[in-house]
């Protein structure tokens, strides 16, 4: 069995990552999954969070939200509507977004908007953690 598999992360605008990796952690809508080479074929909805993968002994991260994950034995394809590399993330804006999302969560009661605010908070936190891990 090959020791690596190919990881592709694409957004509608461009192909972000295309690398041979040894392992990857992906956020699905129902929780994190870890993928090693030779995984069974799997389709899942991409959740909001952080993709982290190991390539040439280095761990890299990408912040993503919403899309689809296709896992094949020798290929993992992530089609994310939004994906950001650490270098593309503006820390100040991300912090600001997190603060706003928190505020909104505190002020509104249980209703439709609270789910949206929660998602916004999750996105901001994913972005922040990616930016921090790579500093």
């Amino acid at each position: 069995m090959a020791a690596t598999f190919e990881l592709e992360i694409a957004t509608p605008e461009k192909l972000l990552v295309k690398e041979a990796v040894t392992e990857a952690q992906l956020p699905t809508a129902d929780g994190e999954i870890g993928v090693l080479p030779g995984h069974a074929p799997l389709l899942s909805e991409l959740g909001i969070g952080v993709i982290s993968f190991v390539t040439e002994g280095k761990r890299l991260t990408v912040a993503v939200s919403s899309g689809i994950i296709e896992v094949l034995p020798d290929l993992v394809r992530v089609l994310a509507m939004v994906a950001e590399l650490p270098a593309d993330i503006d820390m100040k804006r991300a912090r600001e977004a997190e603060r706003r999302a928190r505020e909104r969560l505190d002020t509104i009661k249980e209703n439709v908007d609270s789910a949206r605010a929660l998602n916004a908070l999750k996105r901001a936190q994913a972005r922040l953690s990616v930016a921090e891990m790579n500093r």
Partner: protein, 285 residues
């Protein structure tokens, strides 16, 4: 006979125009290259997305709940929404007028049906503002061509469609075939035209296929709109490049003709002067 000064002035003015059209051609060529790069960059995503969607549809085929998906429900078309993609700027040859003509033909074809317009690009907006029911307009999105803009347009369309405000949504845009030709395309995006295909692998589904489909379809609409925006931008720059190239060639032709005429006039006046001098001298003898 026009004077020499007038002729020189005209030649200069045509030369100035030629310089402008040449510059515009260069700019359009550079922008076209960037637009084409964007189209190519977006391909890995859209092609794979389509493939996966076909897989999910195939896997969910036996499931009755799939048919309940509001984005697949096809209704009798009584109210239509047209999303028309034109350019923000003119001087692109027949690009905008062809698109607008195509849209008008489409609307008159659907006689007796209410049509709402959503215009992307300034030219289409200016034309239809007084002539049709324009429900939304988007100006200045071709320059950056961001997915977020396409997604926003798609979300509004989806909302109207699921609230039964419209029964179908069509995109009218120019497909970039080659630098020399654009093809006007009418594409139905809602109800979603599901890509056909068979399951290529025996996938494990983390979520039930029908649920996954529910998540995939809205984004698919956004992807189709985005692809249309990219195509239209490339087509626009190609059309402008060709139009400006033709204009530069025409200007060169006009300059040639005027120069020839100018020389003739100059020659004639010199000849006349010589005759005057010679005949004056002959009269003295």
């Amino acid at each position: 006979m026009p004077s020499l000064i007038d002729l020189r002035r005209r030649i200069r003015s045509v030369k100035n125009t030629q310089q402008i059209t040449k510059a515009m051609k260069m700019v359009a060529a550079a922008k076209l290259r960037r637009a084409q790069e964007r189209v190519i960059a977006s391909r890995p995503f859209s092609q794979n997305y389509e493939k996966l969607l076909a897989n999910v549809v195939a896997a969910a085929a036996g499931d009755e709940r799939v048919l309940d998906n509001p984005l697949l429900a096809s209704r009798r078309e009584q109210k239509l929404q047209v999303i028309l993609l034109t350019s923000d700027r003119g001087l692109a040859g027949a690009f905008n007028s062809n698109t607008i003509k195509g849209a008008q033909a489409f609307i008159s074809e659907k006689a007796g049906v209410q049509v709402q317009m959503e215009t992307v690009g300034r030219k289409g907006r200016d034309f239809f503002r007084r002539r049709a029911n324009v429900t939304g307009e988007h100006v200045g999105i071709f320059e950056k061509s961001l997915f977020a803009d396409a997604d926003r347009i798609a979300k509004t369309a989806i909302e109207r469609y699921s609230n039964c405000e419209v029964d179908a949504v069509y995109l009218i845009y120019n497909e970039f075939k080659s630098v020399m030709s654009q093809r006007l395309t009418v594409k139905k995006i809602l109800p979603v035209p599901v890509p056909e295909g068979r399951a290529s692998h025996d996938y494990i589904f983390e979520q039930p296929p029908d649920q996954l489909l529910g998540k995939l379809l809205p984004n698919y609409v956004g992807i189709m709109v985005y692809a249309a925006i990219l195509e239209s931008a490339a087509a626009e720059y190609a059309a402008r490049m060709v139009a400006m190239d033709a204009a530069s060639t025409n200007a060169a032709k006009v300059i040639d003709q005027l120069t020839l005429y100018l020389n003739r006039v100059r020659q004639a006046s010199i000849t006349r002067e010589i005759i005057e001098v010679v005949s004056g001298a002959a009269a003295l003898e």
